[in-house]
Symmetry: C2
Subunit: 244 residues, 2 copies
Amino acid sequence: MVDMSADPRQRRAARHARPAAEAAASAPRKKPISVERITDAALEVVATEGYDALTIRRVAAVLGTGPSSLYAHIVNKDDIDDLLIGRLYAEVVLPEPDPAAWREQLRGVFTQIRDLYLKYPGVSRAALAMVPTHLETLRVGEGILAILLAGGIEPRTAGWARDALSLYVSAYALEQSLVQQRRRHQDQEWVLSDEELLDRFTALPADEFPQTRRHAAELISGTGHDRFEFALGLLMNNLRPASG
Amino acid sequence: MVDMSADPRQRRAARHARPAAEAAASAPRKKPISVERITDAALEVVATEGYDALTIRRVAAVLGTGPSSLYAHIVNKDDIDDLLIGRLYAEVVLPEPDPAAWREQLRGVFTQIRDLYLKYPGVSRAALAMVPTHLETLRVGEGILAILLAGGIEPRTAGWARDALSLYVSAYALEQSLVQQRRRHQDQEWVLSDEELLDRFTALPADEFPQTRRHAAELISGTGHDRFEFALGLLMNNLRPASG
DNA sequence: TCGTGAGAACGAACTAAGTTCGTATCGATG
DNA sequence: CATCGATACGAACTTAGTTCGTTCTCACGA
């Protein structure tokens, strides 16, 4: 059983501690509100309406109740972020580190993370704000670190590189989500297609923006994911086995 | 004079167009609310209380009025972000591109941006959400692009690298601001000093977190800025002049 | 069997925030 | 000096996070 103490603060703390012995027991008959169901509901909201639509009231509505009902299980709204990220990172599968393929392995893990973020538009915001001792993020972090170390990267470099890569991936997903969101909210003037963007760039005054104007085509080239791959490449290609 | 049309939407659009002829005329005598004063007030709030404390009401209070008074000058709250970023990026000074020193020049520019972000904790959030046709960000973007091109980087690579670097810098500043903010809000349990973090890491179960445990010291090593420099290095060192 | 009490659920309400509306005020202009 | 458009602003509407006090439920012990 998960921690059933009265105070949700203690339960949050328990979630950050190592997982308890976890006796399965019997599944709850009816449908009592639980941290799991809250997480399910929150993920559903984020997946369908985006992270901005994630409100206590919205989650409560999905569960067919009012906002106050959730506060027996969560500390506050930030706590939902915690749950979300935990659930998301639990889905990341980590490969057995292979010294010969560490770059591909890293690419694979970070692509997984990117796609999880994009599946739930905007959650990367929550990931950026997450405290660094979250259990599931620690697990994934350990996995990434293991891959880097297996690749022969010196520990300190590995740690720093891991942080840089993680930060970039979160930011990339966040930016992509924001673009998508603007596209959904057809705010007329603020949605710019590639052609419109190209027009804007080429319409810039040549004396002030010579490079942007001249290379407008290259600047808007490539899908988001092309740029993602490119950036990951930049970050990883300089990492070399220590005494290689 | 800046655009004095009635609709603030038109005024925002005008801000994104090329700067008008800009007849100086006489400075306003009294203290009418203006976009400039709103920007000043907003920056003051962000600098002293952080981006989270930036509310319409808070800004209005600084100007000694009520929230509705601002809506003759701004479209909505997002518009304030626009003003903030414009003001911030206007402060960035761009060097004359020197083909021999492009890496140092890039470092300089991005360090400026980083420090501006950190001076106004949390604004990088606004920067990430900013539409890519903002006039001042275009100016800085042009400058960065010019440095890369002067360094002999192929245009498409230069564009993508610029985006990757900018994204990383924003994310870095955002993360740093979040850490600072947590530290201010002494939420007891969520503030972790380096020693506490080290303790946490070394207290992890050895079978599940062998690497994190073993290299805990390296993982928490280095100031934020060390990591910033490191990441910039990773991103830049792979960029090479096109035809060598 | 029947209370009983701890935990869970929940309706109502409080606060804060973004935004709108209607009106009042001000200043330049004819 | 009257007028009109732009500006200012108080009040109010809406949505949100959170708290409070009460009610409900159910497993356990007398």
